[in-house]
C-alpha cells in the first residue's frame, strides 16, 4: 500500500479535482438522515456522518432500474456508463460492495452492475462507531481493498491509503496536493484507530454463528420477534448486502416498453410465491427467519452476508435489533 498525506488546506482543491472525473456523490445531511447525493462543493458534505439510509449499493443495484428498452420488438440495453466518484464511503460499505461483487460479477456477470462498478471511483473515509455499529465483530471495520483512495482523519488533514491503479493515477496527477507521511502522522493514525476500536458499544458473537443458528431453527425466539415485526421490508432496503430484485415490463406507449428491475424484499408475501398460489415461505415467521439465515450465511471466500453497518437496527420501525435477536436465539439453545 502507498501512504500519502493530504493536508487540511489542500482538501478542497483535492475535492474539486475529482469533479473532472465525473459526477461526485458524497454524504449529505437532510433532516436527521444522511444520504449520498451529488455534491458540487466540499462543504455540502457531512464527512463525520454515521451512516446513510440507503447504502452505496443504490448506485450499482438501483432501487428502480430500467434495464431494457423495447424498440421495434427488440430489446436494447438501457445502460448509462458515465464515470462517477463516490466520496466518503465507510469501510463496512466497501465490504458490502465486495459482497455484492461476489454475486453480480460471478459468471454470467450482470452487465449493468459491472459497468457501473468499472465506472465508479470509490474514495473511502474513516469513521467513529455509534451505538448501532458492530462491524468490528465481523472484521469489516477496516478495508484492505475495494477502494481507490481511503482517507483517514488526522488532526491536520488526512492520511491517504492508495488502493488501486486508478488511485495511484489520481494521486500522481495531483502530486502537488500530497505530502510524504511523517512519523507523527503515523502515530496519529494509530491513535485514531485505537480510539475507534475501543468505541464500539455493540458486539456480535460470531463464534460458530452459522451452525448455532441452523441448530436453533425451531427456537421460540424467531416467533417472538416475527410477532413484533411489521414485515415492512425496511431492513432489506437499507442493507448494503440485500439485493433481491423483482422485474416487470411496462408500456410507455403503443410501441415502446421498458423492462424494469426494482428492489424486492424477502418480507413480502410474494417473494416465495409460485404458480397456483403455492408459497414456499407462507408465514411471517418463515420470512423473518429466512432473512437472518441469509444474512448469517458464511461464505468461506467472502465472509458473512452482514457487514455490521447497523442500518437494519436504526431504520426498523419495530426497533428489532439484529445482534440482540441473534444473541437471544443463541441463548435459547442452552
Amino acid at each position: 500500500m502507498r501512504y500519502i498525506k493530504l493536508s487540511s488546506e489542500n482538501f478542497e482543491k483535492f475535492f474539486n479535482s475529482l469533479k473532472a472525473l465525473g459526477k461526485v456523490y458524497g454524504p449529505v445531511k437532510k433532516g436527521n438522515i444522511y444520504s449520498f447525493q451529488e455534491v458540487q462543493r466540499a462543504e455540502e458534505m457531512s464527512l463525520d456522518y454515521n451512516r446513510t439510509m440507503l447504502p452505496p449499493k443504490k448506485f450499482f443495484v438501483m432501487p428502480r432500474d430500467t434495464i431494457l428498452r423495447l424498440k421495434n420488438g427488440r430489446w436494447e440495453n438501457g445502460i448509462n456508463d458515465e464515470p462517477f466518484v463516490l466520496f466518503g464511503v465507510h469501510s463496512c460499505d466497501i465490504h458490502g460492495l465486495k459482497i455484492l461483487d461476489k454475486v453480480y460479477l460471478e459468471e454470467p456477470a450482470d452487465p449493468y452492475y459491472r459497468v457501473r462498478r468499472e465506472n465508479a471511483i470509490v474514495i473511502g473515509i474513516s469513521c467513529m462507531p455509534d451505538e448501532y455499529c458492530f462491524c468490528k465483530s465481523l472484521g469489516t471495520d477496516f478495508a484492505m481493498d475495494g477502494f481507490d483512495l481511503f482517507l483517514h482523519e488526522l488532526p491536520d488533514g488526512w492520511l491517504v491509503r492508495v488502493g488501486s491503479v486508478r488511485g495511484h493515477e489520481i494521486a500522481w496527477e495531483h502530486e502537488e496536493l500530497f505530502d510524504e507521511v511523517t512519523e507523527e502522522d503515523l502515530a496519529n493514525f494509530r491513535a485514531f484507530e485505537e480510539r475507534r476500536a475501543k468505541s464500539f458499544k455493540k458486539e456480535l458473537n460470531k463464534e460458530g454463528l452459522a451452525d448455532m443458528l441452523d441448530l436453533a431453527y425451531n427456537s421460540p425466539v424467531w416467533k417472538k420477534y416475527a410477532d413484533i415485526c411489521l414485515a415492512c421490508g425496511n431492513c432489506n432496503m437499507v442493507c448494503p448486502t440485500c439485493r433481491c430484485y423483482e422485474v416487470c415490463d411496462k408500456w410507455l406507449n403503443a410501441y415502446e416498453a421498458v423492462r424494469e428491475r426494482r428492489y424486492d424484499s424477502c418480507f413480502m408475501e410474494s417473494h416465495g410465491l409460485v404458480a397456483g398460489g403455492h408459497n414456499f415461505r407462507p408465514t411471517r415467521l418463515d420470512r423473518f427467519r429466512h432473512r437472518y439465515y441469509c444474512k448469517s450465511y458464511f461464505d468461506p471466500s467472502a465472509g458473512f452476508n452482514c457487514v455490521g453497518c447497523g442500518r437494519c437496527d436504526e431504520f426498523c420501525p419495530a426497533k428489532i435489533e439484529h445482534v440482540k435477536v441473534l444473541d437471544e436465539v443463541r441463548g435459547s439453545l442452552q
Binding site: E106, E246, C294
Partner: protein, 291 residues
C-alpha cells in the same frame, strides 16, 4: 457492452398442441440458425420465456437434446403470463434465454437403470430424460412411474400409451396411476392390468424390485409428492446420492442474481436456478427447506 445475458433470442412458434385443457405443448425454433446451433442443453434444464413488454417466466425443456432442430415446452395455464402464451399461435415469436440450471447428470448414470417418478406437470422435464435415455440406448432399463389426476390430465397421452404397448422393446416400462375414475381409465386398466391402477404414484412401487446398486431415481412433481416418493426409495435401500429431484421456486433472473430462488439456512444456501433445479437427496438433507 457486447453480451447481455438478460436479452432473449427470437424463437418462432412452429406448432401449438393442446395436451390437456390446461396444458399446451409449444414447439419452437430459434430464428437465427447460429443461435439454434449453439443452443445445447441437458434434460432437466430450463429456459426463461420472454414475452417482450409483458414479462418472463421459467419453463422446463421437455424435448430431448437428442432431437435437434427444435425445442418443446409444455406450459400449464395458471396465471397472467401463461394465459398470454396460451393465446399465441403458430408463426408468432417469443424470446428465449438459457438454458439454465444444472440438469440431470445423464452421463454419470449411463449403464444404470433409471426410475423416473413423475407427478402431474412433473412429467414435462422427465419427458426430456425419457426420450434422451431411450434415444441414446445407454441405459440398462427405464421405468416411468407416472401419477396423474384423471385420464384427461395425462400429459403426452399418445406417447404414454405407445410406451405402454411397445415400451419393452425400448427397454422402457411405463406404469400409470390415476386418481379419478373414468371409462377411459377403466379401459386402460383392462388393457394393462399390471401397469395401470387407480391410486397415487407411490402405489406404483408395489411389486417392483430393482437393483439398488445400479439404479438412479429421478423425481419431479408437486411439492407434497417428494417426501412420500423418497420414503419408498429409501425403504428399498436406494442411496440418497442416487435420488435426484428437480425443484421449483419463484425465479426471475435464472442466473443467481435476483435472490428469489434462494433456499437453506446459514450453513447451506442454495440457488435453485443455478445450483439446481436438480438436487440429490443428500442436498435435501443438508439444505433445509429444499423439499
Amino acid at each position: 457492452m457486447t453480451e447481455n445475458p438478460y436479452i432473449s433470442y427470437d424463437a418462432r412458434i412452429l406448432e401449438v398442441k393442446d395436451l390437456t385443457p390446461r396444458e399446451k405443448l409449444f414447439t419452437l425454433r430459434f430464428i437465427d440458425p447460429d443461435v439454434g446451433e449453439k443452443f445445447e442443453f441437458k434434460p432437466g434444464q430450463f429456459v426463461i420465456v420472454d414475452i417482450r413488454g409483458f414479462g418472463e417466466f421459467p419453463i422446463s425443456l421437455c424435448s430431448s437434446p437428442t432431437r435437434r432442430g427444435y425445442l418443446q415446452l409444455c406450459i400449464r395455464k395458471v396465471g397472467r403470463m401463461t394465459k398470454f402464451i396460451h393465446r399465441m399461435k403458430e408463426g408468432e415469436i417469443v424470446g428465449i434465454r438459457g438454458p439454465y440450471g444444472n440438469g440431470f447428470p445423464m452421463e454419470r448414470m449411463e449403464g444404470s437403470n433409471l426410475i423416473l417418478v413423475a407427478g402431474g406437470l412433473g412429467m414435462a422435464p422427465l419427458r426430456s430424460v425419457l426420450w434422451y435415455a431411450i434415444d441414446s440406448g445407454k441405459y440398462e432399463h427405464i421405468w416411468l412411474l407416472y401419477g396423474t389426476k384423471a385420464y384427461e390430465d395425462i400429459l403426452f397421452r399418445d406417447e404414454i400409451i405407445h410406451l405402454l404397448k411397445h415400451g419393452e422393446a425400448m427397454n422402457c416400462s411405463v406404469k400409470l396411476a390415476y386418481e379419478v375414475e373414468s371409462p377411459s381409465c377403466i379401459y386402460l386398466e383392462k388393457g394393462f392390468s399390471d401397469r395401470v391402477c387407480r391410486g397415487v404414484v407411490t402405489d406404483l412401487f408395489r411389486g417392483e424390485e430393482f437393483d439398488v446398486n445400479n439404479t438412479y431415481a429421478l423425481i419431479c412433481g408437486p411439492p407434497v409428492m417428494y417426501k412420500f416418493v423418497i420414503r419408498e426409495l429409501l425403504d428399498r435401500k436406494l442411496s440418497p446420492g442416487r435420488i435426484y429431484m428437480t425443484l421449483e421456486r419463484r425465479m426471475r433472473c435464472g442466473v443467481g442474481k435476483c435472490g428469489h430462488c434462494i433456499v437453506g439456512t446459514s450453513t447451506s444456501i442454495k440457488y435453485v436456478c443455478k445450483d439446481g433445479p436438480v438436487f440429490t437427496y443428500w442436498d435435501a438433507l443438508s439444505t433445509r427447506g429444499l423439499i
